[in-house]
């Protein structure tokens, strides 16, 4: 167990360092950071001073160590375009994205798991077939098309829900929440549905196929033979055993949600980190890009790590068997 934890932590550190190195290369070698920061009219002397101040004359390993040190303190420099510290920009935008991702994940689970169970239990029913056909569309439809269609139906035609923005927000310390006001809650419905649809179909299909597999096993037959009620068999014995792969996939999908929120935020003009990132890509604003990448990778790695640990806690077999470096088995 301990070796497992250590090897996972090591892997996570390697991933983070790789991402940091890529961002470092971006920052230092794509374009000239100095001419990106000073104006056209800066004198050569001012440029040289800024170079020295940024440490651009140091050897590359020293520069990298410096970069990592700064990144650990959340210091990613100033945005080229907005001339404000990147940290402030990201912190300002983070609550919007995290609230959106949280609501989408909740929706995906709350709808995906029950629908998956239902379609597995009543395989041939009309309802199951309808749900599965619909889920196929969820896989093939690009996120932004779903968003556009929802806006067209619910905002343009029916005038039910707002099509852009976050509504009113409440300040809770530095966190601005849209989940506590009526207009905020209304505003989050369409983006959250858009973002969750793909993940929901994924959860649904996974739960369904796992359920079908588990329902065929001997211990389920035995449980039935013991005369347990359907409910006990389905939920206490079958569903519990499908949850392992579901947890992994959901963990990985939360990372996916953060990445796909870039698209959803653009469709709904949601003022989150994704919208910030996409405008940074458009203007080649490297400090924002690298800060976002480091942040998001950190979320991914942390979630992956958490899922792996959770796995070990839930599945007792893992605690004994997987001692060595995992994933190395040929």
């Amino acid at each position: 167990m301990l070796t497992f934890v250590v090897s996972r932590l090591f892997q996570a550190a390697v991933v983070m360092l790789t991402v940091a190195f890529i961002c470092f290369l971006l920052f230092n070698f794509v374009g000239d950071p100095v001419s990106n920061m000073v104006g056209q009219e800066a004198t050569p002397q001012e440029r040289a001073e800024l170079r020295a101040e940024l440490g651009l004359d140091d050897p590359v390993p020293v520069q990298f160590a410096h970069f990592v040190g700064n990144a650990l303190q959340g210091n990613f420099g100033k945005s080229y375009r907005m001339a404000r510290p990147v940290r402030d920009l990201i912190i300002e935008r983070m609550p919007a994205t995290l609230e959106l991702v949280f609501c989408a994940a909740l929706l995906a689970l709350a709808l995906g798991v029950p629908l998956g169970v239902l379609t597995a239990l009543a395989r041939e029913s009309l309802f199951s077939r309808a749900v599965l056909t619909f889920s196929l569309a969820g896989v093939a439809m690009p996120t932004f098309v779903i968003g556009i269609l929802l806006i067209y139906v619910f905002s343009v035609e029916l005038h039910f829900l707002p099509s852009f923005g976050r509504g009113d927000t409440v300040k809770l310390g530095w966190w601005s929440s849209g989940l506590l006001t009526a207009s905020g809650l209304q505003a989050i419905i369409l983006p959250a549905v858009t973002l969750s649809l793909f993940q929901m179909t994924l959860v649904l299909r996974l739960v369904r196929s796992e359920m079908l597999e588990v329902l065929r096993t001997d211990y389920i037959k035995f449980a039935r033979a013991r005369g347990l009620t359907d409910r006990a068999v389905h939920f206490r014995h079958a569903l519990k055993n499908t949850l392992l792969p579901v947890i992994t996939v959901i963990g990985l999908q939360i990372g996916g949600l953060i990445a796909f929120s870039i698209i959803t935020e653009t469709v709904f003009q949601w003022p989150g980190m994704g919208a910030l990132f996409i405008s940074a890509v458009g203007f080649a604003d490297i400090p924002i890009m690298s800060a976002y990448l480091v942040m998001v990778s950190f979320f991914f790695v942390a979630i992956n790590l958490l899922v792996d640990m959770l796995y070990a806690v839930i599945d007792p077999r893992l605690r004994v068997e997987r001692g060595g470096l995992s994933g190395n088995a040929a």
Partner: protein, 311 residues
């Protein structure tokens, strides 16, 4: 092993007798998906011949035709079957030309990631040792981050590195490389798994004994065994690449409006949603969904048909 040319008639007969064709004709949904895909490919190829208008030729545009609704509406009129946009561009022609670019970028991106991934997988599986660990760890790391984010980042780097005017000209190549590079790990994994399973078999040992160099064994003897799974990933990868391209273009960092793909058309049309001109955004969206759904279904069919466990 030299391949003799097979006469086309024999080839056709072999195809008709194959399991693949049999399972294809048995599923009506797959046949429909195949027909839709063929329609899109033909429409894209023949766009200059069949499109009512060349939407990129400014001489063919007249502002008086702007914002014509589709033909079945009372103000609709020929030749604007699906209506026109604010510059008098025919929506149907735009879709046909847009499909050209979407499919071109998608196919080229898949080819690029396939070449990269298959070579990396062969190398990793055949050589083993530290090369294997290095390649597969790189794949693992890349798989931690969603492909769309990698493609976006590469696109951003290209934007920062290339001068502004040049970037628009090269937009298509940047997209192909960015989307292609984002998807190599899946190909590498599958090829490596097959290579590991095959490389200890007798025919490989025999090939080694008669003195065929390692690269020849890898490419001519092991690679053909990996074609099935690689083809499945490539088909589903095509749908993913088309969607990725559309997403980037929708976000405004893909194809420029001067060379619109389906995604760019949707981006342009999006602003007309609120003023009631729904056809400018709806029809390109539907085309994109139909294309991606059809290719996805073909991929599902191919996966099931090539999986011996399901026969």
């Amino acid at each position: 092993m030299s391949t003799l040319p097979i006469p086309p008639s024999r080839l056709a007969a072999r195809w008709r007798d194959s399991d693949l064709w049999w399972s294809f004709t048995r599923s009506p949904i797959t046949v429909a998906a195949g027909l839709i895909t063929v329609t899109f490919v033909l429409g894209a190829l023949l766009a200059p011949l069949i499109a009512p208008q060349n939407p990129f030729d400014p001489r063919s545009l007249r502002l008086i035709d702007a914002l014509t609704p589709p033909i079945w509406k009372s103000e609709g009129r020929m030749p604007f079957l699906l209506g026109s946009d604010n510059q008098g561009r025919d929506v149907l022609s735009g879709i046909l030309y847009g499909c050209r670019i979407s499919l071109l970028v998608g196919l080229a991106a898949v080819l690029f990631s396939m070449t990269l991934g298959v070579l990396a997988g062969l190398l990793a599986g055949f050589r083993g040792g530290w090369i294997d660990s290095l390649v597969m760890r790189m794949a693992d790391i890349q798989l931690t981050v969603p492909a769309i984010l990698i493609a976006l980042t590469l696109d951003g780097i290209a934007r920062a590195a290339l001068p502004r005017g040049l970037h628009d000209q090269l937009a298509m190549w940047v997209l192909i490389l960015a989307i292609g590079f984002a998807n190599w790990p899946q190909f590498a994994r599958v090829t490596r798994a097959t290579t590991l399973a095959e490389k200890n078999k007798d025919y490989v040992a025999a090939a080694r004994i008669i003195g065929i160099p390692a690269i020849g064994i890898a490419l001519r003897h092991i690679l053909p065994n990996a074609i099935g799974p690689v083809l499945v990933i490539a088909t589903i990868g095509l749908a993913l690449a088309v969607i990725a391209e559309a997403s980037l273009s929708y976000l405004g960092v893909g194809m420029p409006p001067t060379q619109p793909s389906l995604g760019t058309l949707i981006r342009i049309g999006n602003s007309f949603l609120f003023s009631g001109e729904w056809w400018i955004v709806l029809f390109p969206s539907l085309a994109l969904v139909a294309l991606s759904l059809a290719v996805n279904l073909l991929g599902d069919w191919l996966r099931d048909a090539l999986n011996p466990k399901l026969r």
